[in-house]
């Protein structure tokens, strides 16, 4: 967070990169500096307010962002599960640089573990199912990664894509796994009904407390989806913390080195294969967790829930947001999951618009909405070298 203290304005390359940065109309560097300069207590207070706001979102029923056509709590849960998946895929793709087109496979393994062991073949308790799902998914990640991670870049993409499809088709064709008709009665998280929380009701710009429309705190039912969102949000915060710790540790640096130049990293003594496998397993862990949550919210899963298309949406979320930056990735997931739900009124056109939006974003914001700081630094250095090579400025 020392970005503001150095004075990069003195070097022409970096000054030029500024002009590239704020194309959205705001200088992120300045905003980041202003936030960094705030006293620690104010910063924590700000974070606290943000967290409370996020938890309160389904109750606030804010006029513009609420979805008129579907239950807002359900939409928020969908968005949250996309965010979770995107955080997991970001470790694989953004940190370790492994293109995984079959990420939905892990999501499916997590969901199927909960469904099969919780409803179809056994009736284990939900508290046991979630850890079990995560463990099984992580093991499947290692089993899948061990042979395939030796394959280079683009081939890895197609091999993982193949594995994702194999998992779905196996579920589709195996009676033991529910086959095409899927699995019903997936256990929901145990409810503890503590108290009722009222929703707000908006009349123009004034908010009224609507005592008829309430959410029971921590009642995981069918009608009101807000508790699932709270659960997912909590998981996201935990994952974010772990993500941050991993990124700043030796593991994170090893991933970065592997991604940038595998041979150089290997020569420097980084056991690249083991770190790639670790990234794959960590990604699988988070994907499986997300799938398990999805299944226990949905109550019903079938192979149709895990189409290859979903992998592509996850990938789009990560790349659109800015692979390698966890907040960028969250933003990308929100864009990919929320926009189609918000505009369900335009049902027919939304995928067309989504495709065009991806096309435009990729072309006009190739670094992602929020590129990782390293990418911005690298871009600045590149531009500096270019301008020096062209002889426009002296070093």
């Amino acid at each position: 967070m020392t970005q503001g203290k150095a004075s990069p304005e003195t070097s022409p390359g970096v000054a030029r990169s500024r002009a590239w940065g704020p194309r959205l109309g705001w200088d992120r560097g300045a905003l980041a500096r202003r936030v960094t300069r705030l006293p620690r207590s104010v910063k924590w207070a700000l974070i606290g307010v943000l967290v409370v706001l996020l938890y309160a979102l389904p109750l606030l029923e804010l006029p513009i962002i609420s979805t008129p056509d579907t239950d807002f709590g359900a939409v928020l849960f969908t968005v949250a599960s996309y965010v979770l998946v995107a955080l997991g895929l970001n470790i694989v793709l953004g940190y370790a640089g492994l293109l995984d087109l079959g990420y939905v496979g892990f999501y499916a393994v997590g969901a199927y573990t909960v469904a099969v062991l919780g409803s179809l073949q056994a009736q284990l308790s939900w508290w046991l199912l979630i850890p079990l799902a995560v463990i099984i998914t992580t093991i499947s990640g290692i089993l899948l990664g061990a042979p395939t991670l030796r394959v280079r870049g683009d081939y890895l993409a197609i091999v993982t894509l193949g594995f994702g499809e194999i998992i779905r088709l196996t579920a589709l064709n195996t009676e033991w796994l529910g086959a095409a008709k899927g699995i019903t009665g997936v256990p929901r998280p145990p409810s503890v009904d503590l108290f009722e929380l009222p929703h707000l009701e908006w009349e123009g710009a004034t908010a009224l407390i609507d005592l008829d429309d309430t959410t029971t705190f921590l009642s995981f039912g069918v009608a009101d989806q807000a508790p699932y969102y709270w659960l997912a949000l909590t998981v996201i915060f935990v994952v974010l913390g772990a993500d941050r710790m991993m990124r700043l540790s030796r593991i994170g640096r090893a991933w970065e080195a592997t991604r940038e130049d595998e041979d150089a990293a290997e020569l420097m003594g980084v056991p690249t294969f083991r770190f790639k496998l670790l990234a794959f397993a960590t990604g699988a862990f988070i994907g499986g967790l997300s799938g398990a949550l999805f299944a226990s919210r949905q109550g019903f899963i079938n192979p149709e829930s895990f189409l290859l298309l979903l992998s592509i949406l996850f990938l789009a979320a990560v790349v659109v947001g800015g692979a390698g930056n966890r907040y960028g990735v969250i933003l990308g997931a929100i864009v990919v999951a929320y926009l189609p739900e918000r505009f369900r009124g335009f049902e027919e056109w939304r995928l067309l618009v989504f495709g065009l939006a991806l096309l435009l974003l990729a072309n006009f914001r190739p670094q992602g909405l929020l590129p990782p700081r390293r990418a911005r630094r690298a871009q600045a250095v590149d531009e500096q070298i270019d301008s020096m090579e062209e002889g426009k400025v002296r070093a």
Binding site: L169, V319, L352, G355, L359, L360, N363
Partner: protein, 329 residues
């Protein structure tokens, strides 16, 4: 097992037919990959648009069944031309809209993949919404035979009647089977010669080998890239007509699975390798057929993907290696 042995010839012939289509579509992936090292995800939509162009031509002409042979051949040729033109045009459009800017910026390859995925979504949806699009211009009644029930299967009425030509091992090989396999082989040979002998072909090879050095030697890189997309698109258009002659149905989202399979075929043969594409296509088609005869047709796609995984593990650059640039003149 006995099912496989009893129907061996039929499985082989239909496998080769399917493989020919895979191989021709795989060419588009392989060429673009060879030149740009990019997975052209939207190539499946290029194929899909070509298939609709072929359907529209037969609808427009509306040949009565059992017409004279010259008329049938004429209609098929027209459909072929239309499909090739449509696919080639869409491929060029893709290059312009989804790739050109990113190539110039030297953006990360992943971003180009996302751009192509976006284009693929948009193109498929556009076809699925063609009745609505026609509605904007108040043409949905005039164009009804072309645009109605846009989300359903669209049937292709093959003007050529399927007839048996000769019988081997209990299976009668039809004229359509022969046409498909032979024309795929012919087109592959023609393309191979085009890449090896013509000026544009050596430009493509040069850029594939070392794009910067090629540019220094006076190769117009932008033109070569356009040519690559065009050639891949034209081949996909031909594949679309051949596919329709045998399988008879297309729809707005039919490209996706076929595209994944064709890409698998390209990787199988060694991506970037023109001959590998056809070989990969044939092997994939055969393996799918034999495999589904052995373990049940519901496992068809699993067989295809497992084959891919196994081959990549033991031969990481595909069967024939990646060698668009290294192909000898």
């Amino acid at each position: 097992m006995s099912f496989l042995i009893d129907n061996f010839v039929e499985l082989t012939v239909t496998g080769l037919v399917l493989g020919a289509v895979y191989g021709l579509v795989a060419l588009g992936y392989t060429l673009v990959y060879g030149v740009l090292q990019l997975i052209n995800f939207a190539h499946s939509e290029v194929w899909m648009f070509g298939s609709f162009a072929a359907v529209w031509v037969t609808v427009a002409i509306g040949l009565a069944p059992g017409s004279a042979l010259p008329a049938v051949v004429g209609v098929l040729l027209l459909a072929l031309l239309a499909a090739m033109a449509m696919s080639g045009g869409i491929a060029l459009l893709l290059e312009r809209v989804a790739y050109r800017r990113l190539i110039r910026l030297d953006a990360p390859r992943l971003v180009a993949l996302i751009s192509a995925i976006g284009a693929s979504f948009a193109l498929a949806e556009l076809m699925g919404l063609r009745d609505r699009v026609a509605g904007w211009f108040g043409l949905e009644d005039t164009l009804a035979p072309y645009v109605s029930s846009a989300r359903d299967n669209t049937r292709f009425r093959n003007p050529l009647d399927t007839e048996g030509v000769f019988t081997v091992g209990g299976y009668t090989v039809s004229n359509v089977d022969l046409i498909i396999i032979i024309s795929a082989l012919l087109m592959m040979v023609a393309l191979d010669q085009f890449i090896r002998r013509t000026r544009t072909g050596s430009g493509i090879r040069a850029v594939a080998q070392d794009s910067e050095a090629a540019a220094l030697m006076g190769v117009n890189r932008a033109r070569v890239i356009r040519a690559t997309f065009l050639v891949g698109g034209v081949m996909a258009g031909a594949a679309a007509l051949l596919y329709l002659m045998r399988f008879g149905v297309t729809r707005w989202n039919a490209g996706f699975l076929l595209g994944v399979k064709a890409f698998t075929a390209a990787v199988l043969g060694g991506i970037g390798n023109v001959r590998g594409a056809l070989l990969g296509g044939f092997i994939l088609g055969l393996a799918e057929n034999y495999g589904s005869a052995l373990v049940g047709s519901q496992w068809r796609d699993v067989v295809a993907f497992l084959l891919l995984v196994v081959i990549l593990l033991f031969r990481p650059t595909g069967l024939l290696g990646e060698s668009l640039g290294r192909a000898r003149a």
